[in-house]
Amino acid sequence: MGDVTYDDVRKEYGDATAVEGLSLDIEDGEFVTLVGPSGCGKSTSLEMVAGLTEPTSGSVYIDGEDVTGLPPKDRDIAMVFQNIALFPHMDVYDNISYGLRLRDTDSEEVDRRVETAAEMVQMKGMLDRMPDEMSGGQQQRVAIARAIVREPAVFLMDEPLANLDAKLRVHMRTQLQELHRQLDTTIIYVTHNQEEAMTMSSRIAVMNEGELQQFDEPLECYYHPANRFVAGFIGSPSMNFIEGRLTDDGVETDHFDLDIERSLHDTEVGQRVTVGVRPEDITLAESATFETESGPVDTQDESELDGTYSDPIAVVTDVLEPVGDDIYVYTRFPDEGQAGADSAGEDRAGPGGNEERLLMSIPPMPDMSTYEAEGQRTQIALNLDMVHLFDGETGAAITHGLTQATQSDDRSASTRAESD
């Protein structure tokens, strides 16, 4: 059984703290991803399970046993490394069987298990190749075979796909998920790529600056981020943030006001907050268009809007990035004093123009020239169900959605209350 527990684990390197008070309960058979930006302590955390790094304080348990002081060989783990780390002086068979041979497994058993493992990663005919005769993807498959052949309680993967090219990475991602389904063994996976984390994991542990930010299912992290960091890190393109203040019945920012129709706990009027909204939760306001020289290219119908939308907000489009199934539209707010639908003047954001921008993602419009649509005035609306508020000081989430509270919102609110 491979449940893994971090109990208040702390790791310092000299004066720097790499991991701060990490506590996690990973259940047997889970695929847990540690994700965060570079230097957030995720690899250190993984190495502490592997035994390659000793925690400064705190304990690590594998299958209920305290393994904190044990060397890696006594921990019943296997690891796949970012730089693949196949032994260059051994062929594929020797690489895969290395761990078994060190444990004096009899040779028939070794042969049988190497064959099974090689088959699982589709490397069966290549057992006598040397690592430098293989492509990166093949090498990484051998590294995975080397890990699975020992049938350990826990797999540790430290950015195993980072050195592969984009296409192969997506392919290997699927393969890893398939492998996890077949083996049903705990996998702890480290990546800085939030997309990998979202697609593969049963739960994600988001880390930043050595501290655990949120440990939840991927979609929970996406829809109910615990704080501003998680909100900004999970999801691509990332969430828009606009600074604002709470008012009697809503939130006001320099550019727009939003109504809040639910009661918020522990907040006061005038408190500084950050409004967060994802690009896909912004849409063109009702009947707003992009005006181009060849005329309007799109009109937003009321019928296309579902959910509760904010009042129209005037923006100027800046850059449009078509990515196929979506168009990312970078918009900025019109300059102060010119705000409002009626204001004249086509001038670009002059010096001193505000820095805050909104990125929205809209469905593609086949007959639109993205070039022509740049620098146009238009109006947008935010999906109030999906607007997040974060505390301006701490970044902790205040609410997810500004409309009447639904059940799922209550649930997350209550779990947050518990964790506090």
Partner: protein, 319 residues
């Protein structure tokens, strides 16, 4: 002077310019030619200075014992029997065997210790690492003579460490006339070089490989000997060969740490000297024995030269 003129100057007989002038103008237009000539001059003088001693030894060895006066560049006679006589007069093969055994023992000890030290120096950050390395390096430049007297006293059981209550004295071991008396000082003297070479090599092995070995079930030492060392093979070969050659060539301790009898681990040095009798010295046998004594090193270098070359250049490039 233009190139055209010089070319006509070269080809036309009866030109006023003399040989030096023609050569000079030729090399100005075609410097490659000069470089080539310089290369041959350097290479030939190098070969002459290194190979002439061997040639001279061969001449001496082939000259019959009676004709040893007035030996010129060619042997005064032809006596290949000297190469056999070498072994019948003196058990020279046993002296050689002693040298080889002591060389191998030292090499093994040095490689073992230098691997451990190189692993620590190459793969760990610890306070005082650089000063410690420099101290090791300094030791390798100590004159061996400075150690001789204390070591001689130590190895001849003349030093009393302490007395036990019963009156028995615990003295230093009697290593004189044994391999230990040579292997230990050699190891100490030749360790620093090997530590330097291996530190450079071991520090270049990616951490991931060591981590992988440890996760797969090695201890740190296991990872060192099963993964790091094999991957540093050129470095290990270089360190080993250099140590072996240094020990094999060593004169000082080899001469002073035994009494010179072949059963007392006397090495080639003593073997060569034993052709020197009280009334007469068989220079032809000495020369023949010297040539034979070179053979093990020659074989070693031929076998290992590829690794040594790659080892030395790899180490040098990464510094």
């Amino acid at each position: 002077m233009s190139a055209e003129q010089s070319r006509t100057g070269e080809t036309t007989e009866g030109d006023e310019k003399n040989l030096v002038e023609r050569w000079a103008s030729g090399s100005i237009t075609d410097p490659e030619r000069t470089y080539k000539i310089l290369f041959y001059i350097v290479a030939i003088s190098f070969l002459v200075t290194t190979l002439f001693p061997f040639y001279w030894l061969t001449v001496l060895a082939l000259t019959p014992e009676g004709n040893l006066t007035d030996v010129g560049l060619l042997p005064n006679g032809f006596n290949p029997g000297a190469f056999v006589e070498v072994f019948t007069t003196v058990p020279f093969h046993i002296y050689m065997l002693n040298s080889v055994i002591i060389g191998l023992l030292t090499t093994a000890l040095v490689l073992l210790l230098a691997s451990l030290a190189g692993y620590a120096f190459g793969r760990f950050e610890f306070p005082g690492r650089t000063p410690l390395m420099l101290i090791f390096l300094a030791i390798s430049y100590f004159p061996p003579a400075a150690f001789l007297l204390p070591l001689f006293e130590l190895f001849t059981a003349n030093i009393t460490f302490f007395s036990l209550p019963g009156g028995t004295e615990v003295t230093s071991p009697m290593l004189f006339n044994g391999p230990g008396a040579m292997v230990l000082p050699y190891s100490a003297l030749f360790l620093p070089l090997s530590i330097f070479i291996l530190t450079t090599f071991y520090s270049q092995i990616p951490d991931g490989l060591e981590d992988a070995a440890r996760v797969e079930g090695n201890t740190r030492l296991g990872a060192l000997f099963k993964v790091i060392m094999p991957l540093s093979a050129p470095g290990v070969a270089t360190a080993g060969v250099l140590t072996f050659i240094a020990v094999y060539n060593e004169y000082f301790f080899a001469f002073l740490m035994t009494d010179g009898r072949v059963q007392n681990w006397a090495t080639i040095v003593w073997g060569l000297l034993s052709y020197q009798g009280r009334f007469q010295t068989s220079y032809n046998l000495m020369a023949a024995a010297s040539l034979l004594g070179v053979i093990p090193i020659a074989i070693l270098v031929v076998i290992a030269q590829e690794k040594i070359v790659s080892g030395l250049t790899a180490g040098g490039l990464k510094e």
